[in-house]
């Protein structure tokens, strides 16, 4: 993907290499906050915001700190540090600047701190040796992919609530089966890029 075009990166991160459905990152919030479309949209927005910022900042951390000092092995811990601090910062600022949005995002914000999708994104950006522009594109694409998956899934789950599901499958079992079917459906995009 090193010399892939920006559009290709965008499409591939949204559909082909969807973070949730084909990379299996960020499964926890995917299952946890997908009961209602409304809350899943909130989660998607929060993740989009944090992912984009995290992607950019980790890029600079890698280029300006880790690479020059040749301490690439500290990547994971350094990125976690960045993400955690970032989420905290966003939370503080939001609480002051936009209490309504803060209320709407609620518990999802702190949840993102431990969202492996964000860390996975930061690590993938470096692994693929993206430039800054491509990093941003990839980050936004991945975030949109995550939001798309979680909102679609929430829509299905809302219907499942009222569906006549056999008792042993009620609740999480049917949700997991649904998730796997969605994953298979997204497999259909392979070869698009």
């Amino acid at each position: 993907m090193e010399d892939a075009g920006i559009f290709v990166i965008l499409v591939s991160s949204i559909l082909v290499n969807n973070f949730v459905l084909s990379r299996f990152l960020g499964i926890c919030p995917f299952l946890g906050v997908s009961r209602q479309v409304e809350t899943s949209i909130g989660m998607g927005m929060a993740v989009t915001f944090v992912m984009t910022l995290a992607g950019i900042i980790t890029y600079f951390v890698q280029k300006l700190i880790l690479d020059p000092f040749d301490i690439g092995y500290l990547q994971t811990i350094a990125f976690i540090l960045v993400i955690a601090a970032l989420v905290q910062f966003v939370e503080i600022v939001l609480q002051k600047m936009s209490p309504t949005l803060y209320e709407a995002l609620g518990v999802f914000l702190p949840l993102i701190t431990t969202n492996c999708a964000v860390l996975g994104l930061a690590l993938l950006n470096i692994q693929n040796k993206f430039t800054l522009v491509k990093t941003i594109t990839h980050s936004i694409g991945a975030a949109i992919g995550f939001s798309l998956a979680i909102v679609l899934f929430a829509g299905i789950r809302e219907r499942l609530e009222v569906a006549d599901v056999p008792v042993p499958f009620k609740g999480f079992p049917i949700a997991l089966i649904t998730a796997s079917l969605m994953s298979i459906a997204f497999l259909g995009f392979t070869g698009l890029v």
Binding site: V61, I65, D70, I71, A85, Q88, F89, I92, V93, Q95
Partner: protein, 327 residues
């Protein structure tokens, strides 16, 4: 091993940590949102079970609701008087002594006492059953006993008896009001925990129609209203209701009720006892006793006639020397 490597790693990571830490510290100062310290104090005073008994999503939101005045300080049904006292202290208001209450199913018409209109085979839920001609019970005010309240109760405080009636287990009930909300028949009421007498009927019809449907219904004869020495019986909608503030648990009404629609726990009936050494023979207690259960002449020691005493406690309140105990 290269010492430089370790140094570089720790310094760069440490510097990053410091930088972020300082940034966050600065941000939290700069963007500080004032949180009322009382909110935290109230939350600490609450049980913290997040049960939702107050009608709000959790203890946190209840604490906030108290602060903005949308919830009263005794809104927590679980915490009890102690919790209310603590919150009152934090808010700087007087705690009104709230009596511990429990829910009570005010229907005693089980499947033997109350006739059925038809056999019901539908969804086992009171709400669904109530939609079909008001339920299978001939009395359209009574408990259907399909357990909608049991499902709503978070404290396992309701059971269905063999006679198809919901019954509240007083020790477990927290008076959260969930069952009252879901009951389609409005046949659950809040009564004080100490209350030993209660009208167990919800039927607002009068006389014969009640009698025909249920053998333990309130027919609206008003005998209890007349017999109550303390004016604690209120009569409205063809139904006797007890004013719990005035009721002394003397159980006279339950004794006199012709259909036994009033429940009374006679085992818990109290008896007056006079400490003879301290009695000065003022006859005040004798005068106040509604059943003439105290005998004795002026300036002579008084005695309680046990069989007549109904344990209302009127004499105890009246005695100037505090020589009467209720047991």
């Amino acid at each position: 091993m290269d010492l430089n490597n370790i140094l570089l790693a720790s310094v760069s990571l440490g510097a990053m940590g410091l930088l972020f830490g300082a940034g966050l510290a600065y941000a939290s100062q700069k963007f500080a949102v004032e949180i009322d310290p009382r909110a935290l104090a109230i939350r600490d005073a609450l049980p913290g079970a997040n049960c939702g008994g107050c009608g709000l999503p959790g203890c946190d939101s209840f604490a906030n609701a108290i602060l903005d005045g949308s919830a009263s300080i005794n809104g927590c049904p679980v915490g009890g008087p102690e919790c209310i006292k603590k919150i009152a202290e934090i808010m700087g208001v007087e705690a009104d002594e709230s009596v511990k209450k429990i829910a009570r199913v005010i229907c005693n018409g089980d499947n033997k006492k109350c006739k059925e209109k038809f056999e019901y085979f539908g969804i086992q839920d009171c709400k669904a059953a109530a939609m079909i001609a008001g339920g299978s019970k001939s009395c359209s005010y009574g408990c259907l006993g399909l357990g909608t309240c049991v499902k709503a109760c978070q404290f396992d405080a309701i059971e269905i008896t063999d006679g198809n009636l919901a019954r509240i287990i007083p020790e477990k009930c927290t008076a959260c009001g969930k069952c009252i909300e879901v009951c389609p028949k409005d046949v659950i009421d809040l009564v004080p925990f100490e209350q030993e007498v209660a009208v167990d009927c919800n039927n607002e019809e009068f006389g014969r129609p009640v009698k025909e449907k249920c053998s333990v219904g309130c027919i609206g004869c008003k005998i209890c209203v007349k017999v109550c020495p303390f004016d604690a019986m209120v009569f409205s909608d063809n139904l006797a209701k007890i004013d719990y503030d005035k009721c002394t648990n003397c159980m006279l009404c339950a004794e006199k009720c012709p259909t036994k629609a009033i429940y009374a726990n006679f085992e818990k009936r109290r008896k007056a006892q006079i400490i003879e050494e301290d009695c000065v023979g003022c006859t005040l207690c004798k005068k106040v006793c509604p059943t003439d259960a105290i005998e004795g002449e002026l300036r002579a020691k008084h005695k309680v006639i046990e069989e007549k005493c109904i344990g209302c406690g009127a004499c105890e309140k009246k005695c100037p020397k505090k020589t009467i105990n209720m047991k």
